[in-house]
């Protein structure tokens, strides 16, 4: 059996999405900036897609900028506002569990002379609103908080954040990386008070290489990419029309079934959590339970063993998942989200993330838990660590990590 449970990294394209893309590959392959009639038609259809996306989040069509994905959207939003407002203030707040792209941007901004605070989260991965209040100062220009924490699945209190920002006597712009929320849970930019929002097509069975940024009207903003404007001055370049139209189709499918999906996956999520907690000893759920957790994420740490080995062993059984182990990360660091919620290195290394796509079934979840049990048991039998005492004895400082990195970069 093949079970893909890494849908937070990417998803399989929906077959119906390709049907729509084909039109723009072969029939209406023209770009919207041509002068001929077919191009004018493409222009109109891309405009309609813009309108469609705007409607799904209660925004205006011209507030939607198409990008190559959420990474670019995050860059465009955060650099766009920060660099533009540098004169007004240089303080930015991002949460401690942002996606790597926002983290890298934040670090880059520090280099450019911005002051960046990393907003802490509680043990469930939810940002601390009172800390946010404390961090705000007259130079704060932008706050960026992820909509749904991509690793531990916590739902961040977007509306409460924007209400705090509104209480400030100067304007603080609010960006959210909604890659894991859009098309999966409702978003209303008016109600939530969002100024900028990043979305990625390949997170909901749409194409890779396409996304959009919502930018509220009159938000000060400068482009990231300069060029020959055609459809949209804010993001020049040959428009990825098949991508846009494919993402539209994927969104339509998702919005049509959103209620149903939420219900189904809330059930599956809790079913899976229950089975794992009942049937596998020495596990720790990472993130919140119930209402505060996205229906599409389950994340556990398995004591005494390491996540890369777990996920590779699962993959041999046809089950594909993610891990927070240092060994599976590019920079050989344990997952910072686990550390942010108060976990130690072992908990990060032993963490496995299961994320649902719209087509996962109960049968697949059952198969996954069955295989997981076997794999965890087998790996534990191989491990020199058998108890919490062993854990403590062999914990070490984590300093060796850096030694590893050196070896790696010399290799």
């Amino acid at each position: 059996m093949f079970v893909f449970l890494d849908n937070c990294r990417t998803t399989k394209l929906d077959e119906k999405v390709l049907d729509d893309m084909k039109i723009y590959f072969f029939e209406k392959f023209q770009r919207p900036d041509g002068i001929y009639l077919s191009a004018q038609e493409v222009h109109e259809e891309v405009s309609q897609a813009q309108e469609y996306f705007a409607k799904t989040i209660n925004a205006q069509p011209e507030e939607i900028v198409f990008t190559s994905g959420a990474t670019e959207a995050n860059n465009m939003a955060i650099f766009g506002v920060a660099r533009r407002l540098k004169e007004k203030g240089n303080h930015i707040i991002v949460s401690a569990i942002e996606h790597g792209s926002v983290m890298s941007i934040a670090k880059r901004l520090q280099k450019e002379g911005f002051e960046v605070d990393f907003l802490p989260v509680d043990s469930e991965g939810i940002i601390k609103l009172d800390e946010l209040e404390k961090l705000i100062k007259p130079t704060t220009i932008l706050v960026s908080v992820i909509s749904v924490a991509h690793f531990v699945g916590s739902l961040e209190p977007l509306k409460e954040i924007s209400e705090i920002l509104k209480k400030s006597n100067h304007k603080i712009y609010f960006h959210t990386d909604a890659a894991e929320r859009y098309a999966k849970l409702p978003i209303d930019v008016e109600d939530f008070g969002i100024d900028l929002m990043s979305v990625s097509g390949h997170k909901f069975h749409g194409p890779k290489g396409i996304g959009f940024l919502y930018v509220r009207k009159n938000t000060p903003f400068e482009p990231l990419i300069f060029g020959a404007s055609s459809f949209d001055k804010r993001r020049p370049g040959g428009e990825n029309v098949p991508g846009i139209m494919g993402m539209r189709k994927a969104a339509e499918i998702a919005f049509d079934k959103m209620e149903e999906n939420i219900k189904k996956f809330t059930g599956l999520r809790d079913y899976m959590i229950n089975r794992i907690e009942k049937e596998i000893p020495d596990v720790t759920l990472n993130g919140a339970r119930g209402e505060k957790r996205t229906p599409y994420n389950v994340n556990f740490s398995f004591k005494y063993i390491e996540g890369e080995a777990i996920s590779l062993a699962l993959s041999m059984e046809g089950v594909e998942v993610a891990t927070g182990s240092a060994c599976a990360s590019e920079n050989l660091q344990p997952n910072y989200a686990i550390l942010a919620i108060g976990g130690d290195h072992a908990r990060a290394h032993g963490s496995i993330r299961f994320t649902f796509g719209f087509n996962n079934t109960k049968e697949e979840i059952d198969y996954t838990v069955d295989k997981l049990k076997e794999v965890v048991e087998r790996l534990r039998s191989m491990s020199p660590i058998k108890s919490d005492d062993d854990l403590e004895k062999y914990m070490g400082s984590g300093e060796e990590l850096h030694k590893h990195e050196e070896v790696d970069s010399n290799a």
Partner: protein, 131 residues
Amino acid sequence: MLKYNELVIQHFKNPRNLGKIENPDAQATEGSVACGDMMSVYLKIKDGKIEDVKFESYGCAANIATGSMMTEVIKGMTLEEAEQITWKDIIEKLGGLPKSKYHCSNLAIDTLRKAIQEYKESMEKSKVESA
């Protein structure tokens, strides 16, 4: 990251010489949980030769596979031969590892050398004691 090859996968799936040796002649544990990579090596030594070897691993697939391969390689070797084995030898024997996993192959060799070293030291000590 590059792909794990078939041989690595085989060693990960069915590690050779897995487990503990009761009353080993030498043993060492290296790495740490914090860095996500740990190994224990147990040796049975007779007449300066490695008669038996077993290992346990807390770590990634590369760690497990290199542990497995290391034990296969050194079994039957003299201690001196075993000490000459490098992480590069093990990677070669495995038909290569993804570059980002090179560092994992270190641990198996480190732990082996530590065990041999401790064995030698304890021999010295017992010599001195019996002298």
